[in-house]
């Protein structure tokens, strides 16, 4: 990891205001992404992954904490600077059917950024640049004049990626970017993302619930549960030696197709549902479903610390070797 991270989240809290209550969708998350690095963010749906993505790109305002890009706090930047800096961070959405304006041709979608930010590409080079971008993401030049509805899901995601690349970003946040795609198409898009990283040095914050995909792509992995990070570390450590009971449960439940399953492990089945983020449990947020939970977990919230396993874990009993009582 380089000295100064490209993106750094410091104690980020993002709150949604409901009619009568406030939901802390993201409840104090610290995370960093280095230049050219790929960080995976995994967790169940509703754990706040997408809210983190939306906060980073500025669609939602954080209610506390900071989003730092190259050490500069996005919240305190003047509007002009912010607009320029926003180009550096782009978002690829989950649903390629909804994220492209249906009334714009591919060429118009790609040129849009250059219309908004004059100076990225001189106007006379627009057509050539569109061809280059299309070629880069594996589309043909004649696709430029077509509309989004004339493409398949995979092709549309390629268009979304090309669109993100138009502003020459240094970080692309992929919010479940391949989850809506068929398995074969998914592999193609993942390879495309890797290729782009090799060629352009772009960093990814890759948000997914798919452990296999994250394992394939990421250098480091953060596991989220109910608005907080449960465990974060290098991919190999997380997959080989998960220390948080939630990570252990997730990995044991993932289908056995990849190498991390070589370590034979008893399957852990979590009981109960994810508690409502409106009223998170006291102490450790995971304790209501945890097989290691003890009294201490209800009163004392575990900090995200390296507890001897080599990477930070938010669990009091990260090192205990309690084997869960298998319900089967």
């Amino acid at each position: 990891m380089p000295d100064e991270p490209l993106l750094e989240l410091v104690d980020l809290v993002t709150t949604y205001r409901l009619r009568r209550a406030e939901v802390h969708a993201v409840a104090g998350v610290s995370l960093s992404v280095g230049a050219g690095e790929t960080v995976g963010l995994v967790g169940e749906s509703g754990c706040g992954k997408s809210t983190i993505a939306r906060t980073i790109v500025g669609l939602v305002k954080p209610s506390a904490g900071q989003v730092l890009f190259e050490g500069r706090d996005l919240a305190t930047l003047p509007a002009r600077e912010l607009r320029r800096l926003r180009q550096e961070i782009q978002l690829v959405f989950q649903d390629p059917y909804a994220s492209l304006n249906p009334r714009m041709t591919v060429a118009a979608l790609l040129k849009e950024a250059w219309r908004i930010h004059p100076g990225i590409v001189p106007r006379r080079d627009w057509d050539a640049e569109v061809r280059d971008l299309l070629a880069r993401v594996g589309l043909r030049p004649e696709h430029a004049d077509r509309y989004p509805h004339q493409f398949s899901g995979g092709q549309r995601q390629r268009i979304s990626i090309a669109r993100a690349l138009t502003v020459r970003p240094r970080l692309i946040v992929c919010d479940e970017a391949v989850s809506a795609l068929d398995v074969s198409v998914r592999a193609q898009i993942l390879n495309l993302l890797q290729e782009l990283q090799r060629d352009l040095g772009v960093a990814y914050l890759f948000i997914s619930h798919d452990l296999g995909v994250v394992h394939h792509l990421c250098d480091r992995v953060a596991v989220m549960y109910l608005g907080k990070i449960a465990e974060i570390g290098p991919k190999a450590e997380i997959y080989q030696r998960p220390a948080h009971p939630y990570t252990q449960a997730l990995l044991s439940a993932a289908p056995a197709v990849d190498d991390w399953r070589d370590v034979d492990r008893a399957e852990i089945v979590l009981t109960g549902d994810v508690p409502s983020p409106l009223a998170p449990p006291s102490g450790c947020r995971f304790r209501t479903r945890c097989f290691k939970a003890e009294d201490r977990c209800a009163t004392e919230e575990p900090a995200l610390l390296d507890r001897g396993g080599g990477h930070p874990v938010a669990c009091h009993f990260a090192n205990s070797t309690t084997v869960p009582a298998t319900p089967h």
């Binding site: 939306r54 790109v57 500025g58 669609l59 607009r83 926003r86 180009q87 782009q90 978002l91 959405f93 649903d95 909804a98 994220s99 492209l100 304006n101 249906p102 009334r103 714009m104 849009e112 950024a113 908004i116 930010h117 979304s160 669109r163 502003v167």
Partner: protein
Amino acid sequence: MTLDTITRLPLRAHLAFGTVLLFVAAGVLGPLLAPFDPTRTSPQDRLSPPGSTLSDGTTAWLGTDQVGQDLLAEVLAGMRTSLTVAVVTVLIGGGVGLLLGLLAGYFGGWSDGIISRVGDIQLAFPSLLLAILLAGVLGPSMVNVIIALAVTRWVIFARVVRGSALAVRDREFVHSARVMGASPARIMLYYILPSCLPPLLVAATVQVGLTMVAEASLSFLGLGVPTTQASWGSTIAQGRDYLASAWWIAAVPGLALALVVVAIGILGDLLRDASDPMTELS
């Protein structure tokens, strides 16, 4: 629209479209065919029934009024007034409504609060009552009639546009434009506006018809265009005193108004069906 789809349109579409076209042509070309001069009277020809030959040898196909003016000329000139007022009112009211509806729908929050509440308050009054009040204060002139009617109409357009804007503003492609750094003005113009236009067009069509009725109502009450300009409303008002002896004075402009408003209403319905992909034209 290809020739094929035009021929497959239902009969009422052809009838309605033909009627509207005929009226528009009559309004535009009418003064050339039968010039209307509000100051010229011809007492010996007064109250002649439709089809009678007048003292100057011409035929009054729709009869004459109480001062001997040819009703055909009067109705054609009235058509022109009616059409001008309705179209300009809808353009102004629609423009204002579009702008305010976009602001309210896209930004939400306090701008939506203010615009929607003002609209609600205004809709609590019967719109004609408000128009009467405004026209009464402003005095009779075509410009004032247009102002009075536009003030009563903008709310309807604003509501239609606000609804469409609300439906589009949280679509992902709009978020994606924001992430790209697009300004709110650009997002409204290129991302929100295109989705608002079809329902706005439907509303505008229907409102042209209703505005014609409103203009006639104001003129009927003497609050519309000045008496030097022909209006269906004022012609009907004059004919009211002669319903028993010369029914055609009130009936001819009344019938014209009814015909054109119904035809425009049908067109509006067709447009609505056409803009909604879920309904088939039948």
